[in-house]
């Protein structure tokens, strides 16, 4: 059974290209451009991994990461944080994410991280 990955990315083109990439690697992909209630989204889709942008309308990537990692049922779900900002500029250190991906990234690197976290 294919692993399900939830993607939150406000740029349609980036979201589309990541969806295409993961789909081609046989993952079950759910993509949204924004969310105001990540737990509901997770409850609804029950992903095996969450890949989120940092700067988002609604909840930002840090809040999404914290919400999952502090949730009694979903804290085991690996979270990958993406941002085009400089890592220091957004101070992403304390959100409890499992991996960090700087935009623009190599497709192979994204796939490696995802497969590594899901293995």
């Amino acid at each position: 059974m294919a692993k399900r990955i939830l993607i939150i990315e406000d740029d349609q083109d980036i979201l589309g290209s990541i969806e295409t990439l993961l789909d081609l690697h046989d993952f079950d992909v759910v993509g949204v451009t924004d969310t105001v209630d990540i737990i509901s989204l997770v409850n609804q889709h029950q992903p095996d991994l969450v890949l989120t942008d940092f700067v988002l309308p609604g909840m930002n990537g840090g809040q999404i990461c914290k919400a999952i990692k502090h949730h009694k049922n979903w804290s085991h779900i690996p979270v990958i944080l993406m941002t085009a900002y400089h890592k220091q500029a957004v101070a992403v250190a304390n959100f409890g994410y499992d991996a960090y991906l700087a935009k623009p990234f190599e497709n192979k690197k994204l796939i490696d991280i995802v497969e590594n976290l899901l293995s």
Partner: protein
């Protein structure tokens, strides 16, 4: 010491004198008594001798009578004839000598009778002889008896006289006997007192002698000192002479110095006046500066502030002087200011640093502090000049620039991310892609490239704007055509519906490419910030100017943010969607401004937004109309 000495002397002499007086008195009285007793003895001796003489006279008379009676020769009667006279003379003398002694007077009277009786006996014998008869025996016996009685009476008188003398002598001797003791005692007391006095006086004299010795020694030392002093005095005199000479030289030098000083003072006075004038001028210059300025003494105390200081801080000089000026420094900058200020003062060289200073309304603004020493010809620091330039806006611009670079970088990375990812999919997984999917990927890649090119275009445009290199290619332009061209750009990448209401044949002198850039920017913003809007209305009308507006049905913009929308780097905080570089509307405003038109927004929260601009119908800007028309293809 002197009192003691005098007292001892007085005591000694006093006792000696009193003792001498006593001894003299006692001696005088003793001698007088002795003389008196001697006279008494002599008196008694005289009486005794006269009594003895009376016996002798009576014996001589008896002897003479006897010789005559025996021999009958008259020459033997010589003593006899003298005897009555002598005897009576002696008795008369004795009566006088014993006139104050009744017993002796009685004795003398008896003696007189006895002498008379004897003499009568002699006379009868003598008469018998002369008559040639023999002496009468009775008469003889009576004569003898008278003689014996005479002898007895004389002895009695002598005894009485002796007793009388002895009694007198005993009385006198009992008195005289104590005289030597008195004298001896007085002499002894005098001796003791004198000895004691002598001892005291001797001690005092010895002390005085010691003192005298000491005085002598001191005098000798004094004399030696005097000698030394005399020697020193000579040296001093010599030195004094030298000093006098030196003094004269000094006086000469001093006079020269005084003259020199007077010249210098004159120079200083004129220089000070010049300096004061120059300082006054200098401060007047500082007053005219647009920045805050002040002066410090060489050691750093502030002694002048220009009026900009008082205007900015709202403080007065009394409060500012001393360390009062430090009160306007931001608490976090106080330590840094202190150390940098002291470093610069200590270095004696110009320096600068940045701190935040509080304005009169309580707002802190960043200032660049510059301090430079004003030096005299000899290199000595006359004063420090300080200026505080308000660089708050510069700082904000710097921050904006940093933010902009950060944001621009982010904005570029976003289309690049999708572009890169899409191209990598096409490259590595083309065998898994259907033709439809491949086309979709190529379209996405194309959109991303367009986004990048728009961003790059904007960035280049910003660069040109900031360098003042924005050149417009003004030609007569059909605005409706420009609107259509712009919308066509979006039709390929967006599902939004454009509703265009445009008057036909509105031709204005404009740079079609730049006008299109403004319209695209408006539409882009509508798509980004009013994504819920299904339609975008574009309107072209002509009043005095040609007016183009782009209206969306989005959430609208709050009034408080509207005035800043066309500022450089301003990004709307509405919707929390921090996207875009904040330069699109700024560039649009600059383009329209250069066309001589106006730009603006009409919006209310909840009622959508209308962005509009106008361009003159005829040429008003400095740009010349180019002869041939250019259109965006």
């Amino acid at each position: 010491m002197k009192i003691s000495f005098d007292r001892n002397l007085k005591i000694g002499y006093g006792f000696s004198f009193i003792a001498l007086l006593g001894v003299s008195f006692i001696s005088y009285m003793g001698t007088r008594q002795m003389l008196k007793s001697s006279r008494l003895v002599e008196h008694s001796n005289v009486i005794v001798r006269k009594l003895d003489s009376l016996i002798s006279v009576m014996k001589d008379a008896e002897t003479g009578q006897r010789g005559y009676l025996i021999t009958g020769r008259t020459e033997f009667l010589e003593p006899y004839y003298q005897s009555p006279v002598k005897a009576h003379a002696l008795i008369g003398s004795l009566q006088k000598l014993t006139s104050n002694d009744n017993r002796q007077q009685a004795n003398i009277l008896n003696l007189q009778q006895m002498v008379s009786t004897r003499m009568e006996a002699f006379t009868r014998n003598m008469e018998l002889k002369k008559l040639g008869k023999n002496p009468d025996l009775n008469n003889m016996l009576a004569g003898k008896k008278a003689m014996d009685n005479l002898r007895k009476t004389v002895a009695t008188a002598e005894l009485h006289e002796q007793q009388l003398l002895n009694a007198e002598l005993i009385q006198y001797r009992s008195y005289v006997r104590y005289v030597p003791y008195f004298i001896l005692a007085s002499v002894l007391i005098a001796l003791v007192v004198t000895a004691l006095s002598y001892k005291g006086v001797t001690a005092i004299i010895r002390d005085r002698a010691d003192m005298q010795v000491q005085i002598t020694n001191k005098e000798r030392e004094t004399a030696e000192l005097n000698d030394e002093l005399a020697a020193s005095n000579e040296e001093m005199t010599a030195i004094n002479e030298e000093l006098n000479v030196s003094n004269e030289e000094l006086l000469d030098s001093r006079q020269q110095l005084t003259n020199l000083n007077a010249e210098l003072e004159q120079i200083v006075v004129s220089r000070t006046a010049e300096l004061a004038l120059s300082e006054e001028r200098f401060r007047m210059i500082l007053q005219t500066l647009p920045t805050i300025a002040w002066t410090n003494s060489p050691t750093g105390e502030v002694d002048f502030f220009n009026r900009q200081w008082f205007n900015y801080t709202g403080l007065d000089f009394e409060f500012s002087k001393g360390s009062g000026w430090q009160s306007v420094i931001h608490p976090e900058d106080v330590g840094y200011n202190h150390s940098r200020f002291n470093e610069i003062i200590a270095s004696g060289e110009a320096g600068e640093f940045e701190i935040r200073e509080r304005r009169h309304d309580g707002i802190y603004r960043c200032h660049l502090i510059r301090m430079a020493p004003l030096k005299r010809d000899n290199g000595q620091i006359q004063l420090w000049v300080g200026t505080a330039t308000d660089i708050e806006e510069l700082k904000q611009l710097e921050r904006q620039k940093d933010d902009f670079i950060n944001i621009a970088s982010h904005e570029l990375k976003t289309p690049l991310t999708s572009l890169k990812s899409t191209i990598q999919i096409i490259e590595s997984m083309s065998d898994k892609l259907s033709p439809e999917k491949m086309n979709a990927l190529i379209e996405r890649a194309s959109r991303s490239v367009n986004k990048v090119s728009v961003l790059v275009e904007d960035l280049l445009y910003m660069g040109k704007l900031s360098r003042g290199q924005l050149d417009l290619k003004i030609v007569q332009t059909d605005l409706a055509g420009v609107i259509r061209e712009s919308c066509a750009y979006f039709n390929a990448v967006s599902n939004v519906e454009f509703v265009i209401e445009a008057e036909a044949h509105v031709s204005v002198p404009a740079d079609a490419e730049r006008i299109s850039q403004v319209i695209i920017n408006f539409i882009n913003n509508a798509l980004k910030y009013a994504s819920s809007s299904k339609k975008i209305y574009i309107h072209l009308s002509v009043n005095e100017m040609a007016i183009i507006s782009v209206r969306d049905e989005g959430p609208g913009i709050s009034l408080e943010h509207q005035p800043f929308l066309f500022d450089r780097y301003y990004r709307s905080p509405d919707g929390k969607q921090a996207s875009g570089m904040g330069i699109g509307l700024y560039i649009s405003a600059e383009i329209i401004k250069r066309h001589g038109g106006q730009i603006g927004v009409i919006s209310k929260p909840g009622e959508g937004s209308t962005f509009w601009f106008s361009v003159p119908m005829v040429q008003t800007s400095g740009h010349h109309l180019v002869e041939h028309q250019e259109h965006i293809s």
